[in-house]
């Protein structure tokens, strides 16, 4: 059996580990545009902040490929998949045959159309290690940083550069920050917090035109800047899949085994859509745990094992300037809300038809995984002491039988 994996990020690593849990011997070939050690992209903001280092940020050991018996083509690009002959063609025309192929091509930053943007030299995206390293070089204490996008990437970037520069301004078209993961009350808390830390937030506005020194906003406001970071979102890299005739929507469509519409081609990670069990629809879940779990599932199935990944959902855990927040699932349904007086701790649990569907917790995130479990395993809330668990996640809210089975090992 010959396995070929396009990509070298988390879904690819999950795929390798999945394959090797079933098939220790067959050849695995990894082809990646990025020629670097194995790293996890969410760590780049921590690298700039110096909370991690190039040494520490390795997602797997340097001899990982060797130990997993993988052949690598790093710094190479696949330009075509010939699914009839089952070969991939590289940018140097080299052909590599496969029996099972994994597409883990990820996503790329979306660059919006802005008047003058093509002439801006000091502009950056914030996704890869290279992005982080080139941005880091430019950071000095007299620089003003302008970030377009108040989502996860934009705000993690703001946090990372804050102490190294003169000012940070974040502009977003949306009326509130982190619109995809927080509700309005949550936003208020986090917005207040990051503004107190010195971030200049400009919401409900966008950049109309930009030159090397100034950005003119739609509102007419003018912002002087030195470094421009574009963080408005990502687009799935689906070109190869589309040209091969694989079914795609906003990203590549797969089944619960990680298989695409072609029986020998699998896909995982940010280039794919996943079924969200909390909203009953299919969407891009560009999240690290999802990439690993789907990649691993696909790997196991590629190698002839049998694994299903059927409990994907949105999940985010992040800190911003020392304030921690965790969110999961979707927010449609009835809510239990607990907010403390100074509005630094916030909890909202969302439930519908006796199932927990989602939650937002800011501040005290301890043991919140117990809530995640309720969502993931679709546990009927009538089977547990929901009143008790609303207040604090705890196993005492479950039945004695459950604790005996899990903690006590009773079968």
């Amino acid at each position: 059996m010959k396995y070929v994996i396009i990509g070298s990020s988390i879904a690819a690593i999950g795929c390798i580990e999945g394959i090797r849990s079933v098939d220790k011997k067959s050849e695995i070939t990894v082809i990646s545009k990025e020629d670097t050690f194995i790293y996890s992209r969410p760590l780049i903001s921590y690298l700039i902040e110096e909370k991690t280092s190039l040494e520490k940020m390795r997602y797997r050991e340097d001899d990982f490929y060797e130990k997993q018996n993988c052949k690598t083509y790093l710094g190479r690009e696949v330009i075509k998949i010939n699914d009839k002959n089952k070969v991939v063609i590289l940018n140097n025309n080299e052909k590599i045959a496969y029996d099972k192929l994994m597409i883990a091509t990820g996503s790329r930053p979306f660059i919006p159309e802005i008047k003058g943007i093509e002439k801006v030299k000091n502009k950056f995206t914030f996704m890869t290690l290279d992005d982080a390293l080139s941005l880091k070089k430019k950071l000095t204490e007299n620089k003003n940083v302008l970030i377009l996008g108040a989502g996860l990437i934009g705000l993690k970037c703001a946090e990372a550069v804050m102490d190294k520069v003169k000012s940070v301004t974040v502009v977003d078209l949306a009326k509130r920050i982190l619109p995809s993961i927080l509700d309005e009350d949550g936003c208020k808390i986090v917005t207040k917090h990051i503004e107190n830390k010195g971030v200049n937030l400009i919401l409900d506005d966008s950049i109309d035109s930009i030159d090397e020194k100034n950005a003119i906003l739609k509102s007419g406001k003018e912002i002087e800047y030195d470094i421009f970071v574009i963080a408005v979102g990502v687009r799935a890299n689906t070109e190869l899949a589309k040209e091969t005739g694989l079914k795609t929507n906003r990203a590549i469509i797969t089944d619960e085994k990680g298989k695409t519409s072609n029986k020998d081609i699998y896909a995982a990670g940010d280039c794919t859509e996943s079924y969200d069990i909390t909203s009953d629809d299919t969407k891009v879940l560009a999240l690290l745990p999802n990439a690993y779990l789907k990649g691993e599932t696909a790997g196991i199935n590629m190698a002839g094992g049998d694994k299903t990944y059927d409990n994907a959902m949105p999940m985010n855990s992040l800190g911003l300037f020392g304030l921690h927040m965790v969110t999961a699932g979707s927010y449609e349904g009835e809510s239990y809300i607990d907010i403390n007086e100074n509005e630094t701790n916030y909890k909202r649990l969302i439930y519908k038809n006796n199932l927990l569907k989602g939650f937002i917790i800011i501040g005290d995130v301890r043991r919140c995984g117990i809530y995640t479990k309720l969502i993931r395993e679709k546990i009927d809330l009538r089977q547990i002491d929901f009143e008790l668990i609303k207040d604090k996640p705890q196993l005492m809210a479950f039945s004695r039988k459950y604790r005996d089975e899990t903690l006590g090992g009773v079968k």
Binding site: L293, S317, V365, G408
Partner: protein, 143 residues
């Protein structure tokens, strides 16, 4: 592999497991120095409700969501034991969000901490088990 099992029926709720855990992971040879006037942060914790008590620590799951979702590679499985490399952890708490037992917690340094079955401290076997006066906590191979 051998795991820690808690027989809730026998748990007295005495919290000794927590103290033995904290001592074992304190790097102190003297128990008094390790515990006296110190806010302990044990990796096993007693839950209590209306007189019912039980001890909760990492189950070392076969399919650990914490490891698979770890964004830094700080959590890993070594011969079944789930280890945390605190040096690599950047404190994103994705594992806290993932653990179905609430058995991984942020520590005082902003990274996470968890039970490693005392494999990495000087004792080499779970001290909560040793400290349990009623044999409610056992360390056994149960297939």
């Amino acid at each position: 592999m051998k795991r820690i099992y808690v027989n809730e029926k026998w748990c007295l709720g005495c919290h000794l497991c927590e103290y033995y855990c904290a001592y074992a992971n304190s790097n102190e040879s003297d128990m008094v120095k390790a515990l006296k006037n110190i806010k302990i942060r044990p990796k096993i914790k007693i839950e209590e409700l209306n007189g019912v008590t039980s001890a909760v620590s990492c189950r070392h799951c076969n399919e650990p969501y914490c490891v698979k979702g770890c964004i830094s590679g700080a959590l890993s499985i070594n011969e079944g034991v789930i280890n945390i490399d605190k040096n690599k952890c950047i404190g994103c708490f994705t594992c806290v969000l993932s653990c179905p037992y609430g058995a991984i917690e942020p520590d005082e340094d902003g990274v996470v901490d968890k039970c490693e079955l005392c494999m990495k401290n000087s004792f080499g076997s779970p001290q909560c088990v040793k400290g349990c006066p009623n044999n409610a906590i056992v360390y056994e191979e149960r297939g």
